[in-house]
Symmetry: C2
């Protein structure tokens, strides 16, 4: 293992430009107190030598680490990757977050943590100690975990909580699940459905409640009853099968599923019961993952702007690092509805 030293350091640049290290450092960090001509001269040396600062050294010097951690639930994420069912949550986070981070010279590091027990505290502490990130992006179901937030607050790390509305340490970003639930439900109501069932996600996810609330509101607004039309799932396929059965038995002519996997279960149950979609049953999925475009029929779905919301999270963390003002209001990046062919008027 060859001992690798930085090829060109701040010293080389300083020597080349004939200035002190400090001046070079100031130019790198775009500090105001450098004469333009001086800055230009230094920049010329930087470009000439192809100098890029070592983030390890910057971090050691007491500056930023230019690292942002995106925390995701290990178990669920690995299961998604293994099953290869097309869930592209992490990809969308990278699309929005990593690309945005790169624009600012930051890197996004995906970190998987165990949700259970005290593991998460150990794991997170270790990651923080090892990496010393400037910011952490929390995703459901961690976004409002008090243990995590306390830990992060103690370390004064910038925190973005995706899928959260509550205030607390850091700032919240939401895709407005309530509105999304309303949107999906209203679409079905407008088509003429009266018995619109809803398959909720697990309670551990706060957003499950918001989506239910949106459904309730839309039902109320349309003057429809909800009796027997709410079924609880756990985002898994099996739970979707059970929930669908219950809703169908309750006379539902349309179903909103809280995620794509449960929507696939609806499809399956409809098939076994000989129900055509959308002829006999309309279906809206709550994820617009790749597979719902390839099902038969392709599903009308709530599109969650994961990339966009992650990009915003990164931007705000970086702004905070740069000393920007802190706006505590939750940031809303609304979801939308993509209408495909799984929804139609009832009894068509």
């Amino acid at each position: 293992m060859a001992r690798r030293r930085q090829a060109v350091t701040i010293k080389h640049v300083a020597a080349d430009a004939g200035v002190s290290l400090q001046t070079v450092s100031r130019v790198i960090n775009k500090e105001a107190s450098v004469r333009p001509e001086m800055a230009e001269r230094v920049q010329a040396s930087i470009d000439k030598l192809g100098y890029v600062p070592s983030i390890a050294a910057q971090r050691m010097g007491g500056s930023r680490s230019y690292l942002i951690l995106a925390l995701n639930d290990r178990e669920r994420t690995i299961a998604d990757w293994r099953e290869r069912q097309g869930t592209d949550w992490v990809d969308q986070m990278m699309l929005g977050g990593m690309v945005k981070a790169a624009e600012h010279g930051y890197r996004l590091i995906v970190e998987l943590v165990d949700t259970h027990s005290d593991h998460i505290e150990r794991e997170l502490s270790a990651a923080l100690a090892a990496l010393r990130p400037d910011g952490v992006i929390l995703t459901p179901p961690h976004s409002e975990n008090p243990l995590i937030l306390k830990l992060l607050e103690a370390q004064h790390v910038s925190v973005a909580r995706i899928g959260s509305l509550r205030d607390g340490y850091g700032f919240a970003l939401t895709m407005d699940d309530e509105r999304a639930g309303r949107l999906a439900t209203a679409h079905l109501a407008e088509l003429g459905h009266a018995r619109i069932g809803f398959i909720a996600g697990p309670e551990a996810y706060e957003l499950s409640g918001w989506r239910i609330e949106g459904w309730r509101q839309a039902m109320a607004a349309a003057g429809l009853g909800t009796e027997g039309l709410l079924a609880r799932g756990d985002f898994g396929y099996e739970s979707g099968l059970a929930a669908t059965g219950a809703l169908l038995d309750a006379g539902a002519t349309a179903i909103v599923a809280s995620n794509d996997r449960m929507a696939l279960a609806v499809l399956e149950v409809a098939r076994t019961r000989g129900l055509s979609i959308p002829g006999d049953l309309s279906l809206v999925s709550f994820d617009d993952t790749p597979i719902v475009r390839f099902t038969h029929p392709p599903l009308t779905a709530v599109v969650q702007p994961i990339a966009e919301v992650t990009a915003r999270a990164v931007e705000r963390i970086i702004a905070e690092q740069a000393g920007g003002e802190f706006d505590p209001a939750p940031e809303v990046v609304p979801a939308s509805l993509t209408i495909r062919t799984s929804t139609a008027p009832p009894g068509q």
Copy 2:
């Protein structure tokens, strides 16, 4: 921006254990020259204080950075993410690479680079200077790029080249595309097909050639001619449409597509021409991405062990860092064939 200092450092551990910094450092790095009782005492302090070394400091001290860069083509990767067609290459790399890296205290950082012109040299140099990774994983079409390899060699960074067979700096890992091509083709030949068309990938990808070679070998082994049965695509949908048309016109009764996107194009052309699959035309895809399980019919496909190969790449990089012996032979993690319902005897 609060000035964040490491909560617990090697100093605290040294003080707690009543030893010198150096001894703690030796324990951390599992050096042999520490008396067991001493090591135990130090370890106890480490556990008690929850100490985790700062990788920035370790790096600064001249040790490893515990960072491994996974280089991917920016344009293609971002396009895949945006289109949301289910391509899960990056996910599979993370599944294999990130998880394996984490087991050893390493982190995998995904880095996107522009393939074109001199961008790549600048970008890669900058990433190396900023991060100082211990290793770099190269993916097609970068795996054998001489500019990249020269740069990496100059910096003495460990390199894993995925999808490569050629020797050169670093070590090569292959999923044995030639064998995979043979496998897919032989499967069709065994079903009784004589006119088996092959839609190749772009020449920029070395593996395109290997797959063609596998197809040729299997055709020869089955005593079949290849006249007019090879069409060149570029991994894109449009190119797949054109290629399919050509192959069908040449009388193909079965087609092997070099990736899932082009396989979808085959499906589409078959539909427009009123050809049933597998009744009138058999189809094998070269990617087992999520969508090919949801097409109608689900596609027989070559499964590429991306996760496994990436895990091996990470393991070997880490072993090399640890001073392990270097085995220059390319590592083969063979692809397999998953048979679904898009293949059947001809004219069935």
